[in-house]
Symmetry: C2
DNA sequence: CGATGACAGAACACCGTGTTCGGCAAGGAA
DNA sequence: TTCCTTGCCGAACACGGTGTTCTGTCATCG
């Protein structure tokens, strides 16, 4: 793939850049193949000679980056020297920051799921109110988004895995993880512990 | 909306149930309006007389439930008596469990975003290995999904909000929240704290 | 300097969407 | 019951985006 025809590389890069810029502008769903073709100045036939469809092109935009991130993360597998605890997290955020444009495009692709979006917003708002009320020592938005995302992810996992625990049980597990992190984010121990 | 024609209610419910069952079977994207029409035994014209498109129908499936959840959550706003800390979480999981079928359909709607899915899987796997290595006292899958979801949510928020903090800063914030929760999930304090 | 194959352009069939129309029948009120 | 309102049906249609096919041209690499 590296030593291919120069024309091929030119075409692929043109298509990828066109898609990324268009997605940033109008979002993924609202971007049509024809628009990508026009902006990249590439023929329709050529496009389908390279990619099965729009999804494949979109995925290819992240392929190199994925490989890069994968190796960076693999460098800190367990068993290796007790590396800096922050590093795995830092790697991800650093990677995103280095490749801002692509990540912008990735995140412009909406959740496409109004129900989950609603749930997320609902939980995040509730947390935001609770937290700003309780006096947090770190940005309230950050805390709210973080914990709402955690709750939603666990919920989705729980549902798609066919409810492997009872509702009370999974709620207790969730609470066990959320509570200490929330406490750590408040000025003092937190008066009436929320979660 | 409640005291409308009996035919209207019949039609709407038929369409909603048809969509939910089809989504559970083949997923949202792979379900076509015509299939919904066939299963609900409803005419094409009738469908568009009730809903603008497939998305609107899907949203309507969650409307009543959303209202229900909203009121349940509103009952525990801050300022009210220091309610049981676990309740807000329990409400969400309980709600999902009570309306299993709809939630199943909701969660069948794929992330539609291979890049984010990749990131999530990557982070979750890394966490899983770290955790099972360190000896966790709660289900490793639960912990991995939970923290991966939190990280991803924060990442998405950070990107879509145009990187309001530097990469190191946001990583530090993330670490501050993740560390205590992970520690709490390990048997002992955790030898070489990861995160 | 060839031979290869990447590319353009236009035409095409296909599928899913959302709209239009005339006619039918089920619902609610008198 | 009668009447009339209104939801519903079915078929047909235009539209837009997708992915394919064919023919000819030109850049690239050996």
């Amino acid at each position: 793939m590296a030593g291919t025809d120069r024309r091929v590389r030119r075409t692929r890069r043109a298509l990828q850049q066109a898609l990324v810029s268009l997605v940033i502008e109008r979002g993924y769903e609202r971007t049509t193949v024809q628009e990508v073709l026009d902006r990249a100045d590439v023929g329709r036939t050529t496009f389908y000679a390279h990619f099965r469809d729009k999804d494949a092109l979109f995925a290819s935009c992240f392929d190199d980056l994925a490989e890069e991130l994968r190796t960076e993360l693999a460098a800190m597998q367990p068993g290796l020297p007790p590396a800096d605890p922050v590093r795995p997290i830092g790697v991800v955020f650093g990677h995103a920051h280095r490749h801002r444009e692509v990540y912008r495009a990735i995140c412009r692709r909406p959740q496409a799921n109004p129900a989950l979006a609603f749930l997320h917003r609902q939980v995040a708002d509730l947390l935001r109110e609770h937290l700003s009320d309780a006096g947090a020592r770190m940005p309230v938005d950050v805390m709210a988004e973080y914990h709402a995302g955690a709750l939603l992810a666990l919920l989705i996992w729980w549902v798609t895995n066919d409810f492997p625990y009872g509702p009370d049980e999974i709620a207790r597990l969730c609470q066990t993880m959320m509570a200490p992190a929330v406490m750590a984010g408040l000025r003092d121990g937190g008066p009436h512990g929320l979660a």
